[in-house]
């Protein structure tokens, strides 16, 4: 699934063996930028869900840390090489850590959704521009070589996907997804200013100090019906009814959608714009979540693996609740919970999980309990 590079600048990866940032989630300094200065996430990404085999132990922790360290010694740190996080789920924190209750489990987050609630022990997020690097990393961690974790961890699921110009159109040809679009909805949605900064999502104190939290969802998207809309209709639903497709395509720093004018816009147009509604969750117009989502066509069901990082899980919950725009119905008779309400009619969340991502120094079996 290769695609021509559109980078304005190449990835700024750190060389193999370099000193790495203390936060596992600190990826963005390595990203390439496109011609308009927008950050470019690694094009190929995996989420590897695993569960413990037996009880966690000191040798298991040493073995995992050694495996991750070996990868870092071998591969550059960045999209040219490998970026990773190791996040620990509610099963880990509640059953095996010295800090049970540190992490809230996920929950149903809209009136229409009915997701499976995943409670994994651990999820590895692996990202690279190169699919063979992901293969290497998975083989190192879960293969039969000297660093294989099979004695301690059993892989339960691998979710695979992509993000980047050209990849969605290649994955779903014939649907009219714009050739340069990085995601299945056909627009750039990651800009410099619409992401929480890595610094702002870093936890200051407690068991996850120096780390962050993650919410991982599997979302199915009705791409065929979405792509049947006109580009301006898409822009209206994805951003705001006052935003044309041409304007949306030129967004670089942010997707300014006049969220303060949300109620008036809905009243006048009978349409809720997704970004306009969601931007109401910002604090002082600063976003509170950092998106690491990527597209997928696994199982013949196009969608998104939505990975959101935030200092507190409630930052995600608040953003999602506000994004739902349940109040849109108050402003216009044409707006429903899903209908004419952002992208609500075009997606369904089928799985949810929450993770605590410790700092790099604690990434292997963090705060393992003694019992």
């Amino acid at each position: 699934m290769s695609a021509p590079s559109v980078a304005g600048t190449a990835p700024r990866s750190l060389p193999a063996g370099a000193d790495l940032p203390p936060g596992q989630h600190e990826w963005e300094a390595t990203f390439a930028l496109d011609e308009q200065g927008r950050p470019l996430a690694p094009r190929q990404q995996n989420l590897v869900f695993a569960q413990l085999v037996g009880r966690p132990s000191e040798p298991a922790a040493r073995s995992l840390e050694a495996a991750l360290h070996a990868l870092e010694q071998r591969l550059p740190y960045g999209p040219d090489g490998l970026l990773s996080t190791v996040g620990w789920g509610t099963a880990w924190w509640d059953r095996h850590s010295a800090h049970p209750g540190s992490l809230n489990p996920p929950a149903r987050m809209s009136r229409w959704e009915d997701p499976v609630i995943d409670t994994p022990d651990v999820v590895f997020h692996l990202a690279s521009d190169h699919p063979d690097v992901l293969d290497q990393a998975r083989d190192t961690l879960f293969g039969t070589g000297p660093h294989g974790q099979g004695e301690h961890l059993r892989v339960t699921e691998i979710r695979r996907g992509f993000v980047g110009a050209g990849l969605p159109a290649q994955a779903l040809p014939g649907l009219g997804i714009p050739e340069r679009a990085p995601l299945l909805f056909g627009f750039h949605s990651i800009h410099r200013g619409n992401q929480a900064t890595e610094r702002s999502i870093t936890i200051a104190a407690g068991p996850l100090a120096g780390g962050t939290t993650a919410h991982v969802s599997r979302i199915e998207l009705d791409i065929a019906r979405w792509q049947a809309l006109g580009r301006d209709e898409q822009a209206a639903l994805l951003y705001a009814p006052t935003v044309s497709a041409e304007r949306a395509e030129a967004f670089t720093d942010d997707a300014p959608s006049d969220f303060r004018e949300y109620a008036r816009t809905v009243r006048e147009h009978g349409i809720v714009g997704h970004a306009q509604a969601a931007a109401r969750a910002r604090v002082g117009n600063v976003p509170v979540i950092n998106r690491r989502d990527f597209a997928t066509v696994e199982g013949g069901r196009p969608g998104t693996h939505f990975v959101s990082l935030q200092r507190e899980l409630r930052d995600f919950n608040n953003t999602r609740a506000i994004m739902n725009a349940a109040d849109g119905t108050d402003h216009h008779a044409a707006v429903g919970a899903r209908r004419r309400n952002g992208i609500n009619a075009f997606f369904d969340v089928t799985r949810r999980a929450t993770l605590g991502i410790p700092p790099r120094a604690l990434r292997a079996y963090p705060h393992r309990g003694t019992s």
Partner: protein, 240 residues
């Protein structure tokens, strides 16, 4: 997104219970439903997906709530309200109108009834957006202690078997008449011990109710066991 909406929606009037914009949206939903929720198993039947979303839309917007008791509208005319609303919905989709006809008849009937505990409870539910229907076909009803619950013993338990037009999951409450006593039992179809639903032309199978294919327009059979009822969930004979 196929229709052009008026810039500002007009409120409902006595002549038009449903806002014109609401009707446009209803037509949109029935023509092109949203992505179905994975766990509903609606993927097998697009019409079912559309009906579920249309009902949810009407419910969330409380568009089928009975008319208020106000003097500003002049004389109360619940039956006229129901007829006009039904005509509006049928104008969009005749089959969908048929599905809602029992709900509108119930709402109109009860709105015209004098106040009473059971009647008020039902009207309250309707005003909160509940969608009701009526059982069709033969009903089997067995009270565990041999008689219906009443004010003296407000909680009772019964096994109930009935059929309803359309998927039972679309409705909050089904009105089930007891052929013996004339009372009407207000039955949430999801209540009781392991509620079982099946299309009436498909035999019962083991497994969860949601695992069966949903096909719009079918009659469904509902079997509920050990359902607990409060006495306000029974409408006395002659109430509807």
């Amino acid at each position: 997104m196929t229709a052009t909406l008026p810039l500002a929606a007009r409120g409902p009037s006595a002549a038009e219970p449903l806002d014109p914009a609401a009707l446009i949206v209803l037509a949109e939903i029935l023509a092109a439903p949203s992505l179905p929720v994975a766990s509903t198993d609606d993927r097998t039947d697009r019409r079912s997906t559309a009906v579920r979303e249309a009902i949810d839309h009407l419910k969330s917007r409380r568009l089928l709530a009975p008319p208020e008791r106000t003097t500003t509208r002049g004389a109360r005319d619940p039956a006229g309200w129901a007829a006009r609303l039904l005509a509006q919905v049928r104008g969009v989709d005749d089959e969908f109108g048929e599905l809602l006809a029992p709900h509108l008849a119930i709402a109109a009937d009860l709105a015209a009834q004098p106040p009473g505990a059971a009647r008020n409870a039902v009207v309250g539910g309707l005003c909160r957006g509940e969608i009701h229907s009526r059982a069709t076909g033969p009903v089997r009803l067995r009270w565990t202690d041999g008689r219906p619950t009443g004010p003296a013993e407000p909680l009772g338990r019964a096994d109930v078997h009935f059929a309803v037009s359309g998927h039972p999951g679309w409705y909050d409450v089904v009105h089930v008449p007891d052929p013996g006593s004339g009372i009407v039992l207000l039955v949430p179809p999801h209540r009781g011990h392991r509620p079982a639903w099946r299309p009436d032309d498909v035999p019962f199978r083991d497994g969860p109710a949601g695992a069966r294919p949903i096909v719009a327009g079918r009659r469904w059979v509902v079997e509920l066991t050990a359902v607990t009822f409060h006495h306000t969930e029974i409408l006395p004979a002659g109430c509807t």
